[in-house]
């Protein structure tokens, strides 16, 4: 392999039901920044069926070019047809870097591609940068051992350099209106032998709430809330603040709340404008998922709780008593402002 032949930063665009995943927009934003340092371009790799209508959106979020693989066999995500198509894109276009979201799709697809192509893959990165030692290698940084330790990893001798990147960590650019980018339609025929898994059903989970990764304000509860009934006061508080409720792993494990609102290493990474932690002790796995929030306030009965090390302001007290009063005070303050 002559690594000089591999050029450009490519982003695998995850679309489901014709909607682009937030992490793909985030990756385009990050790719722009990396492309400047590498003096190269950003290419979006879009797979799906009848999805060409998304190209404008990708251009507005930072793609210089789009490689479009439009094929009926790619309508619903399936591991091998997708991996096959991505491998064909790599073989033809020879990217220097290929980034994926660390999602239930990206973390299934990327390893298969890496194994096939024989290249490195760094999982669940939280930081990407470019080496300034003349190699322009991609520096991929990720947490390990439950967030206890960070490791920076390179892939010096194989291409593309591939990484999955945790959603919610990179910043999208402000979309450029009326942006457009050239679209390279790339035909891939999926062999029958690759269609080895049959999709019998697709069942969407009912959810009317905003994804905690998109929320600007999170009111988050942990074991210290005492029980599922006390999460109702967090709901009320979040409603008044215009935010949404999230939780620690302890509350999920106790069966009080659903897994999809769990913050942390095994849940989601969030960076809201306000993270209000109520009765969360702050295990390192939890901190790893929320410590980059802009502003953190924590309420906990135990003054030695590690959450206080991450908080801008910590209040030693009982969240179940403070939150209802606080909610009323916020209501009053908002009502006064309207007068």
């Amino acid at each position: 392999m002559n690594i000089q032949d591999y050029k450009g930063i490519y982003v695998f665009i995850q679309q489901v039901d014709g909607k682009v995943a937030g992490v793909s927009h985030e990756l385009l934003g990050k790719a722009r920044e990396l492309a400047q340092k590498m003096e190269t371009k950003v290419t979006a790799v879009l797979l799906g069926y009848q999805v060409s209508g998304l190209c404008g959106d990708l251009a507005s979020y930072g793609a210089d070019k789009i490689v479009l693989v439009d094929n009926k066999d790619l309508e619903i995500y399936s591991t091998r047809p997708y991996a096959y198509a991505v491998c064909k894109v790599i073989e033809h276009f020879k990217p220097a870097v290929l980034l994926y979201g660390a999602t239930a799709i990206g973390r299934d697809l990327a390893p298969r591609v890496a194994a096939k192509i024989r290249t490195g893959l760094t999982a669940d990165c939280t930081k990407l940068d470019v080496a300034d030692d003349g190699t322009k290698n991609l520096l991929m940084t990720r947490p390990a051992f439950g967030g206890n330790i960070m490791a920076t990893i390179i892939c010096p001798d194989y291409r593309p350099q591939m990484a999955t990147v945790r959603p919610g960590v990179m910043q999208k650019i402000k979309p450029v209106e009326d942006a457009s980018a050239p679209v390279d339609s790339f035909a891939v025929e999926i062999p029958e032998s690759m269609k080895d898994v049959q999709i019998l059903g697709v069942v969407k989970k009912e959810s009317h709430k905003i994804d905690i990764q998109d929320a600007k304000i999170l009111v988050s509860g942990g074991r210290g809330m005492g029980g599922p009934e006390n999460f109702k006061m967090l709901e009320k508080c979040a409603d008044v603040l215009g935010g949404t409720v999230s939780s620690s792993r302890a509350a999920v494990d106790a069966g009080w709340v659903d897994k999809d609102i769990q913050v942390g290493q095994t849940g989601k990474t969030v960076r809201p404008n306000l993270y209000l932690a109520c009765g969360i002790s702050g295990a390192i796995q939890h901190l790893a998922g929320m410590e980059d929030s802009d502003f953190i306030i924590a309420i906990n009965k135990d003054e030695t709780a590690p959450i206080f090390d991450a908080a801008d302001y910590g209040i030693v007290g009982d969240a179940t008593k403070i939150i209802p009063i606080f909610t009323e005070e916020v209501k009053k303050a908002l009502a006064d402002r309207k007068k």
Partner: protein
């Protein structure tokens, strides 16, 4: 039906501490466990064995002391255990690990391979799908339910906002979520039996792999730096406020930040 369950012995990360001087992991005294997702995978295999009959082989790649994890799996009810171990395999990243494990699995009869989704020490979730690619068989990740009928396996496959019901012809590799089940305990009789069983060892010499594809040498990725996160500047901690004062205090801070 032959089921191969791939497990990993991991340090219980809840108890991992960092040496403040060197910034490295203190491994001494940290108990080792079977990785939780892998243990759920093993339990799923044992339930298939209980309900419809299967021969369950548990396999791990690691240093000689990983034998402890295999003994535990035998005590839970696995029929056979294989330890893939050699200094030549050391320093492998996920690519080289999967390549090595796949070569070892090829030495065994298998219809179904079950791995955990991810290990708690690395959290990569990569080795399972990579083994499947090496073996050129389908994989289904993130399994919440597994059913076997004849030569087909049906899996409830989790995504963030949905699940897919997927059906594949075996041989197939499945990665298991710890939500799949609650693993059984070892039985006293099982423990006794486990220590009488022989653990099969597979070493470098047994495998048909190239030197350039195993261990550190076969690994495309390199760790260039490890570090602990620099702590954030200390915030303000207040105690001795009653609930009303605490509520007012928070409101005041949110106003200062223009959040309200």
């Amino acid at each position: 039906m032959n089921i191969v369950v791939c497990i990993k012995q991991v340090p219980n990360t809840n108890e991992v501490k960092i040496d403040p001087k060197t910034g490295t992991l203190i491994r001494e005294g940290v108990p080792s466990i079977i990785n939780p997702d892998d243990k759920a995978g093993l339990e799923a295999a044992l339930r298939l064995k209980d309900s419809q009959g299967a021969h369950v082989t548990v396999l791990t790649m690691g240093p000689p002391q990983a034998e402890t994890a295999l003994r535990e799996a035998l005590a839970m009810g696995a029929d056979e255990a294989v330890l893939v171990t050699d200094r030549a395999f050391g320093g492998a990243d996920t690519w080289a690990t999967a390549h090595t494990i796949a070569a070892a699995v090829e030495k065994l009869p298998y219809d179904l391979i079950i791995t955990g989704r991810q290990a708690i020490d690395g959290d990569t979730a990569q080795v399972g799908p990579q083994i499947a690619e090496n073996l050129n068989i389908p994989n289904i990740s993130y399994a919440e339910e597994i059913k076997v009928e004849g030569e087909y396996v049906t899996v409830k496959r989790q995504f963030e906002d949905r699940y897919h019901i997927l059906k594949a012809k075996m041989p197939c590799l499945i990665t298991a979520l710890s939500e799949l089940n609650t693993p059984r305990y070892m039985t006293p009789g099982g423990i006794v039996d486990a220590y009488q069983k022989e653990i099969k060892k597979i070493t470098r010499a047994d495998l048909d792999v190239a030197d350039g594809d195993i261990g550190l040498k076969g690994s495309p990725t390199r760790v260039v730096k490890t570090f602990t996160k620099s702590p954030k500047a200390a915030g303000t901690l207040v105690s001795n406020l009653n609930s009303q004062e605490a509520a007012d205090y928070i409101l005041e801070k949110l106003k200062e930040k223009f959040i309200i």
